[in-house]
């Protein structure tokens, strides 16, 4: 690249990206802030354009949001830009290429902060492809972004603390939340009291949601899960069941619960396509997710590339903000050629405490292999390509796939529109649990997380001017 118009390009304008942009600006850098959304906030602070007030009651810590938006005010914003690839190096500069409506944009920068966030992790269950079955994050996004309720009688299920704000939000806006079915037993928190007590705000947040659920008389069940959905054209009911320690259904415990919508979430999967495209080192985190290895300054193994937020390990918005601030500061120093100062003790302590909290959260909310016993051979795993659990198992048992990538290529699970974002985790687990397969490794997850084309781009757009000539 001949010139780099920006010192720092920040991809992602959620909690981590906003904090990174604000910190990089404070460090004297020229900053580009790029996000697929039309306004800042990411999934966490999602809202309608210019209308945060209408959904303020659904949000947490809006003061932080407003101060980060102010801090990032002087960044050049590329909103509504879907990044399809990143490339380059610290020596030659980086290029972030995105598609926005009808145009392709290339942003050059000396250093990069990637804050891509995460999306709901899904495990398949019978008839989960029925209309009316939503991810917990999807249900919340509709609520925060559009003030739309996914249904009138809603079942919330899965595992993790995120189920609580989703249920509370739905109830606050008038949905009858028939029940929250948490597959784990969060009483296990007691064992992690140390980690939790250090993050009093997080604890208060949880208590607040619990109180909200009690106020709306939402029953909270533990060690129970939604194991099947029922309905002809849309979901009309679900089967919930009690689970044993390994998440196998306790025989005779199944109950049918009527509902017109289901919201399920099993933790989160970090979006790693952009970091992986640059070849950064990764590891498997405590929750089984592939995450980016970063050092004290949120530096990756690739010089000039910083990663902050969920992509370094799912840990929630406050941790993402702390990591973003550290990453933005370091990226600005690198780009402007100033010496890198030690991370301030305040941020170091905060990041450490929040990471301990996240580790405790993952320990209390694991996803156990028993979910695989809920599936029939005809249960869809990959919805885009309509690949069933039986077909994934056949790729392993009959065709000799011993890793997730091979299972994917032999069964087509994960080769459709979503490129495995929905089914990659399930396919990797189904492959790894077969006899003769190794446990899910970083390499396995990398095989289902690499997406050299990070967002669809039309051939004409990709071709550039030459493509338009071809159309004549």
């Amino acid at each position: 690249m001949a010139t780099s118009p920006y010192d720092v390009a920040v991809v992602g304008a959620g909690p981590a990206g906003l904090a990174a942009a604000a910190a990089a600006l404070a460090g004297g850098a020229r900053v580009a802030l790029i996000d697929a959304g039309r306004q800042p906030g990411g999934q966490y602070w999602r809202h309608r354009p210019g209308d945060l007030g209408a959904v303020a009651d659904l949000h947490h810590d809006l003061r932080t949001f407003r101060s980060l938006v102010d801090g990032a005010a002087h960044a050049v914003k590329y909103f509504g830009h879907h990044v399809w690839t990143v490339s380059g190096s610290a020596a030659d500069g980086f290029a972030v290429r995105s598609v926005a409506g009808d145009a392709e944009e290339e942003v050059g920068a000396r250093s990069l902060v990637l804050a891509p966030g995460a999306y709901d992790r899904q495990v398949p269950f019978r008839s989960w492809d029925l209309p009316g079955v939503y991810t917990a994050g999807g249900a919340q996004a509709l609520l925060k972004g559009n003030e739309v309720l996914v249904g009138r009688r809603v079942v919330v299920g899965g595992t993790g603390p995120f189920l609580l704000p989703v249920a509370a939000g739905l109830a606050a806006r008038g949905a009858r939340v028939v029940g929250v079915y948490e597959a784990n037993r969060p009483a296990g928190w007691a064992r992690h009291a140390g980690a939790v007590a250090r993050v009093a705000a997080k604890l208060t947040e949880g208590a607040g949601y619990a109180a909200a659920l009690a106020r709306h008389r939402v029953p909270f069940h533990t060690r129970r899960a939604v194991v099947a959905a029922h309905g002809d054209d849309v979901v009309g009911a679900v089967t919930v069941a009690r689970l044993d320690r390994e998440w196998r259904v306790v025989p005779g415990s199944e109950r049918v619960v009527e509902c017109d919508a289901v919201a399920v979430g099993w933790g989160f999967t970090p979006q790693l396509e952009l970091p992986l495209a640059l070849g950064v080192a990764t590891r498997v985190d405590a929750d089984g997710s592939l995450v980016v290895e970063v050092d004290e300054h949120q530096r990756t193994s690739v010089p000039g590339v910083y990663v902050a937020g969920e992509a370094c390990g799912v840990g929630g918005a406050p941790l993402a903000v702390a990591e973003g601030e550290i990453a933005g500061t370091a990226a600005a120093a690198t780009a402007t050629g100033t010496a890198l100062a030690p991370v301030p003790a305040r941020l170091r302590r905060r990041r450490r405490a929040l990471r301990r909290f996240a580790a405790a959260m993952h320990a209390v909310h694991p996803v156990r292999d028993g979910w695989q016993t809920w599936l029939g051979d005809d249960t869809l795993v990959c919805r885009c390509e309509e690949v069933t659990a039986g077909e994934v198992r056949a790729a392993v048992d009959e065709l000799g796939a011993t890793d997730a990538r091979t299972a994917k290529l032999l069964s087509r699970a994960g080769m459709g529109w979503c490129q495995g974002r929905v089914c990659g985790y399930a396919t990797a687990c189904l492959t790894a649990s077969a006899p003769g397969s190794a446990p899910v490794s970083a390499l396995d997850l990398q095989g289902v997380s690499e997406r050299p084309i990070a967002a669809p781009i039309s051939l004409g757009r990709l071709a550039g001017d030459a493509g338009h000539n071809g159309q004549q």
């Binding site: 490339s87 011993t402 669809p456 030459a466």
Partner: protein
């Protein structure tokens, strides 16, 4: 030979190793396949699955391709389950001069028995309705076919297992067992595997396996990218490519060459190639290459301009300096056979390669004289 020895150890569980294992197991040999990775995890899993006679001028490679395309037709019945599609290839020329060259190439191919149909510009739309109208003409090759390459390898290995073969993935060959000048097995990360014959079917990594046996086989990686579109109703019926592709395949240039190759698949996606460059094992996405591929595809099929690309992948073709594969026994290391270096034609040539190697191991007369592919041909 120790009593627990296999007749044949095949190094490489790609499509060439799979075909070799199948033909050897079918002729009653005990076979063990080892691969340091997974089934079809190397170049096999990164190709389009072409079985082509159209892109080869008369000579040793076309002879091999013709034998192989007949064998694949048989395998589709005997083994099956790998989306064999005899869809035919359509080669198009953009200039009258290019069309002349193409027509004379087709005439020389026809003399060797390849079926060819010259298609004047005005009739191209009957075969491919969405082609740009600005072409000078084309040649249709009804003998070109396609398989899903990973399924092909996996199904052949499964069929070989049904005949007693063993497939051991995640096992890396670290050296060779020797008795005098002869190789008598392989050392692996999971112990020694003695064998009467060892087949080097390690594809792009065939040179490294050969060097473990102390012999030189010059196989080098030649990178290629493929773009994959969203699934669509069938709008591209054949494998369609530009006449320049034939010249690119034969080029000795290390620099980037791209020529448009466009085809639909059973899954509804359209695959777009083909690029060739010698950059070692660099896995980085090259935006320049992707742009060139997209531009050429849109030039051939203007309707594709609005179609979304959802995936891109890259692979490394096992390339030999004279563009011919290495097939046959190695006189420098008796007991060792090579079946590698097929460049971009490995899927297509796999069936013939496996068959010839099995015949050579059995001491039969091979279906084809393998002299042109002999491994020692590169010795100065």
């Amino acid at each position: 030979m120790p009593t627990d020895a296999a007749d044949v150890v095949v190094v490489g569980a790609g499509v060439v190793g799979a075909a070799t294992a199948w033909y050897a197991a079918r002729s009653g040999r005990s076979v063990t396949v080892v691969d340091r990775g997974s089934v079809a995890g190397g170049t096999t899993g990164a190709g389009e699955g072409n079985i082509l006679v159209s892109d080869k001028p008369p000579g040793a490679e076309l002879d091999l391709a013709r034998l192989s395309s007949g064998l694949w037709r048989e395998l589709a019945v005997e083994v099956g389950g790998f989306e064999y599609d005899a869809k035919g290839g359509l080669v198009v020329a953009s200039t009258p001069a290019g069309f002349d060259t193409l027509v004379s190439l087709a005439a020389s191919q026809r003399d060797t028995g390849v079926e060819t149909v010259v298609v004047p510009a005005g009739e191209l739309a009957e075969h491919e309705p969405h082609l740009t109208p600005s072409l000078a003409g084309g040649v249709l090759y009804p003998g070109d076919a396609q398989v899903q390459p990973m399924l092909a390898a996996a199904r052949l290995l499964r069929a070989a297992r049904a005949k007693g073969a063993q497939v051991r993935t995640g096992v890396e060959v670290t050296g060779f067992l020797r008795s005098g000048g002869r190789v008598t097995g392989v050392r692996t990360s999971a112990g020694d595997l003695p064998a009467g014959a060892i087949v080097n079917a390690a594809g792009t990594w065939g040179g490294e396996v050969a060097s473990l046996a102390g012999v030189d086989v010059p196989v080098l990686p030649r990178r290629g990218f493929i773009l994959v579109t969203e699934p669509l109703p069938r709008i591209v019926r054949h494998k369609v490519y530009a006449a320049e592709y034939v010249a690119d395949v034969a080029s000795d240039d290390a620099d980037l060459q791209t020529s448009p190759v466009v085809e639909g698949t059973e899954a509804g996606t359209i695959l777009i190639g083909a690029s060739r460059e010698r950059v070692g094992y660099d896995r980085t996405l090259s935006v320049r290459v992707l742009r060139a591929l997209a531009a050429q595809a849109v030039a051939l099929f203007p309707v594709l301009a609005g179609v979304q690309v959802i995936r891109a992948y890259r692979g490394f073709r096992p390339y030999c300096p004279d563009h011919l594969p290495v097939i046959g026994p190695d006189p420098r290391a008796p007991g060792l056979y090579h079946a590698c270096g097929h460049e971009g034609a490995g899927i297509g040539l796999a069936a013939a390669t496996g068959r010839l190697i099995a015949q050579l191991i059995d001491g039969e007369d091979p279906d084809l004289d393998v002299t042109p592919y002999r491994p020692e041909r590169f010795e100065a």
